[in-house]
Amino acid sequence: MAIKLPIYMDYHATTPVDPRVVETMLPYFHEKFGNAASRNHSFGWTAEEAVENARAQIARLINATPKEIIFTSGATESNNLALKGAAEMYREKGNHIITQVTEHKAVLDTCKRLEKYGYEVTYLPVAKDGRIDLDDLRRAITAKTILITIMYANNEIGVVQPIQEIGKIAKEKGILFHTDGVQAAGKIPVDVQKDNLDMISLTAHKIYGPKGCGALYVRRRNPRVQLSAQIDGGGHERGMRSGTLNVPGIVGFGKAAELCQNEMAEESTRLRGLRERLKDTIFAKLDEVYINGSMTHRLPHNINISFAFVEGESLLMGINDVAVSSGSACTSATLEPSYVLKALGVGEDLAHTSIRFGLGRFNTQEEVDYVTSRVIEVVQRLRELSPLYEMAKEGIDLSKMNWGASAGH
């Protein structure tokens, strides 16, 4: 079978909308276009029914009840609402929030904003495997702590945090626990009861649904979580998020959640197999390659590898018919290598050489084999070009070299 190029292997960034999801959404653009908040006619009722159906589908995916799902424009908004909404609502109780250093910017930058407003934020470090230390978490808790926000799984390295344990600690201490669940939900089992989650941010476009549609699960019982709305208006979504609902998007989100729930077991096994195949072949053919983050506590469809002595952007350039991403500074606007890899203690030299492979629903074994062979070929070629590889092979310890001040940066 001929392979269609380019190959998409960047499923942590976004996913294509599953054709079955598109099919479900279509009637809601023109034929069933009603406003779900219109209470007086059948157009509104039809839209409302579709939204409530989707709410139930999403709730089932995480073992919540439908009323606990608040629709938003995406996970960035969900994270903003969870953090700012809780901080504002529980200000009387305290002003301390605990998070960790490898969070997505939607959480980190929201925390920075809250610091400006007088809140105190503790940024827990992570170990070399990318996970927080639970003792660090326990020590960080004070009488003023109102919220713990720790992501379920990381978007760069796919490392899964000890969510159940964190949930237990938060519950014991009576502190709210929010998690950014965008990379985990729909891919691995997420259960708001077992995990003791009070809030979880979700988004449709990471689970084969449309962009611009997200949700925040907000626990209603034991405890009943209250949030200050961050968008004022018509009082939609139990007053927590005003704005006319994106009905087609929500319908698609619901269908996407249902498909993920039904196919998760099979899909994660298949993707884990492909991921292992990719990793094993690369490790068999290349020396000086390193995995970033824990292999034990990791999403089944993620692998993040540093190809020592080969700069990430030049590698991407060589495999330009494959869509993956790199932690190299050269691929970012800031010219700084990945802060996630830095937090793991990965040296900046190795951070520059990292590639993230994010496998997904539509990847085939043929594609994985093609990508693997292209990567190996280009890494070998670029190492022939790399003075560092030559020096390392001569036994020179690069870390002991005096690289001096250069005109670089």
Partner: protein
């Protein structure tokens, strides 16, 4: 980010990749940049001590496509030039030739530095060997 055709051409067909014997008194080696910054260039030139003409140039680069292209171009340009002519090559010439975007200008700066560092190394070697020769004569 789209690369210019010239950058792609140098990346896919780098000129003068390789290594010259470092110990050769006529070979100057310039190693600039740092792994932490994501760019390291090594430029080597074999210079005729009589004519001061750069007879051979080789490079190896760890860096993005633009860094590889800048150093590949530098080897092409210095070959056949005199030391003085090579020292006159400026990073802006490289930027223009490769149509580098502003965010990649540091790659051209590094290539210019590599040329200067290689020539400085060669000059230093020459001075030491001259001093050594004189010392030997005096010793005799």
């Amino acid at each position: 980010m789209a690369y210019s055709d010239k950058v792609v051409d140098h990346y896919e067909h780098p000129r003068n990749v390789g290594t010259l014997p470092k110990e050769d008194p006529n070979v100057g080696t310039g190693l600039v940049g740092a792994p932490e910054c994501g760019d390291v260039m090594r430029l080597q030139m074999k210079i005729n001590p009589e004519t001061q003409v750069i007879e051979e140039a080789k490079f190896k680069t760890f860096g993005c496509g633009s860094a590889i292209a800048s150093s590949s171009l530098a080897t092409e340009w210095v070959k056949g030039k005199t030391v003085a002519e090579a020292l006159a090559i400026s990073n802006t010439d490289i930027v223009r030739e490769l149509s580098l975007p502003p965010v990649k200008i540091h790659c051209s700066v590094l290539a210019e530095d590599a040329i200067k560092a290689a020539i400085a190394d060669w000059k230093k070697k020459k001075e030491t060997s001259t001093t050594a020769a004189t010392a030997t004569t005096v010793g005799d």
